[in-house]
């Protein structure tokens, strides 16, 4: 076998081994070492670090962001993230709120402020914008810090009359500064997530 083909084959098998390890959630080397960092960069760039657990082990309830916009005269109206020009764009923009459930409070705050900024761009007459995060499902017992526990109803629950609806989880209100950038208006509860 020509040496070039041998090299090509070795690289291919090595890549597949990394892919298999990535799918099994096994880190080859700790990222505290140089070789671990190099490998992390490589697998990140090539997509070999993906786990492919689509909708696994289960499908989670959906979350969304809605916006209550108020102008200087007190007039109110609403908007949402599906302002794209195509179904593909709306799928991407609309699902952004789902990211919030996997991040800490500070990151969630920055995401919400960024969304409010975009809304201030879209609605130049807006004075304040309330970013409301909602979940689609039914309320469950439990929850904490004023945020209800939500899940999508099972088929049996649905048959028993429990219909899913959009339920408020938490919100933040922003007002525009002189440069039309969003700054948070803190209520007495502070940041709630």
């Amino acid at each position: 076998m020509p040496i070039r083909l041998k090299l090509y084959l070795t690289c291919a098998i090595g890549q597949l081994a990394l892919v298999a390890l990535g799918m099994a959630h096994i880190g080859v080397l700790p990222t505290t070492t140089l070789s671990g960092k190099v490998l992390r960069v490589y697998t990140g760039l090539t997509g070999a670090d993906k786990s492919y657990g689509f909708f696994a082990p289960g499908v989670r309830h959906q979350e969304r962001a809605t916006f209550v916009i108020t102008d200087a005269s007190g007039r109110q109206w609403e908007d949402d993230l599906e302002f794209g020009d195509s179904a593909e764009a709306n799928l991407r923009l609309g699902s952004t709120a789902n990211v919030l459930r996997g991040v800490d409070d500070e990151t969630a705050f920055h995401f919400m402020r960024s969304m409010a900024d975009k809304m201030f761009q879209r609605h130049p007459s807006a004075q304040t914008i309330k970013v409301q995060i909602q979940a689609y499902g039914i309320k469950l017992p439990g929850g904490g810090q004023g945020v209800p526990a939500i899940d999508f109803p099972t088929m049996a629950e649905f048959r028993a009359g429990k219909k899913p609806q959009w339920i408020d989880l938490y919100s933040l209100t922003f007002q525009a500064n002189d440069t039309r950038q969003a700054i948070a208006v803190w209520d007495e509860r502070g940041m709630v997530k």
């Binding site: 140089l34 960069v41 696994a56």
Partner: protein, 327 residues
């Protein structure tokens, strides 16, 4: 007890079988179909996102760069996340606004995809497409989903495959390389194994969750407002149907890993997976994702890969002279 000689012979046979599996010459036509398919899907996707490039990827997009990217991070790990902000100074030096620069990058991405589709300067087009896909998806991490992962993986493999050897302008100009090659076989095997492993991992992870066995996962996936294309709440009245579909999905994904290597079960297995992706497109609206997966499956397993010259020889084979020789 197995003696050393028997063990050596077994090892040699296994090595020879592995070598043949990976390096027996193959036609590059499946890879040409892969190239055309990926480029077509990503072009359609780019067309549907073109009006919202700034909202998705811009500094002041829906999720601003500062939220998901630390521009001051100079660590080695930051290299894993090439970001559009890296171009900022370049745009400035050309007197381009950031918005104009973003559209300039996007238009290069689209141009490279057109070149890839046509198979013109295929290798260069592949490199540019891959690099810019990495930049674009890293600059909008909150809006990426499965199709972006597969686009990245496919384009990375495409860098190393003889994609321009068939159905391409490069081939017409005699610059596409040989239509039959060992490199084509290696490329095809990597694609096949990646797909098979991916479905296996996905099937196992689904199988570990109760939702896929009691049908709740299917029920949720097709009734959530984010993905639902039709009112499917009637499924709650026939719970056996989503349960059957959940079981079928797990069994199909796990079974795919084993079925695609056998000549008899390959076509039914791949057609079943393709049907699953058609269902995903129809009932969940994930059209780009489903299209890309269908392209990967068809090019990996359904396009004939026997070397073209071997097929021609088989077609031209005339048994009569052999009969005479025998007589």
């Amino acid at each position: 007890m197995i003696d050393r000689e028997t063990m050596n012979r077994s090892m040699q046979r296994a090595t020879a079988a592995m070598t043949e599996f990976f390096t027996e010459p193959a036609s590059a036509k499946p890879l040409a179909v892969l190239r055309i398919g990926i480029a077509a899907v990503l072009l359609a996707q780019a067309y549907s996102l073109a009006a919202n490039v700034g909202d998705l990827y811009g500094r002041n997009g829906l999720i601003q760069w500062g939220v998901t990217y630390d521009a001051d991070d100079r660590s080695a790990m930051a290299l894993a996340y090439p970001h559009l902000s890296w171009f900022s100074r370049l745009f400035e030096s050309f007197g381009l606004s950031e918005s104009a620069g973003l559209y300039f990058v996007f238009s290069i991405y689209v141009t490279a995809l057109v070149f890839l589709l046509l198979g013109f300067k295929t290798r260069a087009a592949c490199i540019v497409t891959f690099v810019l896909q990495v930049f674009l998806s890293n600059s909008s991490p909150a809006t990426v989903y499965g199709v972006d992962s597969f686009a990245r993986v496919s384009l990375f493999y495409a860098l190393w495959m003889p994609l321009g050897a068939g159905y391409s302008i490069d081939a017409l100009r005699g610059r596409g390389g040989s239509i039959d090659s060992r490199a084509a076989r290696v490329g095809l095997r990597v694609l096949q194994l990646h797909l098979a492993l991916m479905y296996l991992a996905s099937g196992i992870e689904k199988g570990l969750g109760a939702q896929w066995w009691d049908g709740e996962a299917i029920w949720r996936a097709v009734t959530m407002p984010e993905l639902a294309q039709f009112d499917m709440t009637w499924l709650a009245g026939v719970p056996w149907l989503p349960m059957l579909l959940g079981w079928a999905t797990v069994i199909l994904e796990v079974g795919y890993f084993f079925a695609v290597w056998n000549r008899r079960t390959r076509v039914p297995a791949v057609l079943a997976i393709v049907s699953m992706h058609v269902g995903i497109a129809l009932f969940m609206g994930l059209v780009s994702f489903a299209s890309l997966m269908i392209v990967l499956n068809i090019s990996a397993f359904l396009v004939p890969c026997a070397p073209v010259r071997m097929r021609q020889a088989a077609l031209e084979f005339n048994p009569l002279p052999m009969g005479r020789v025998a007589a």
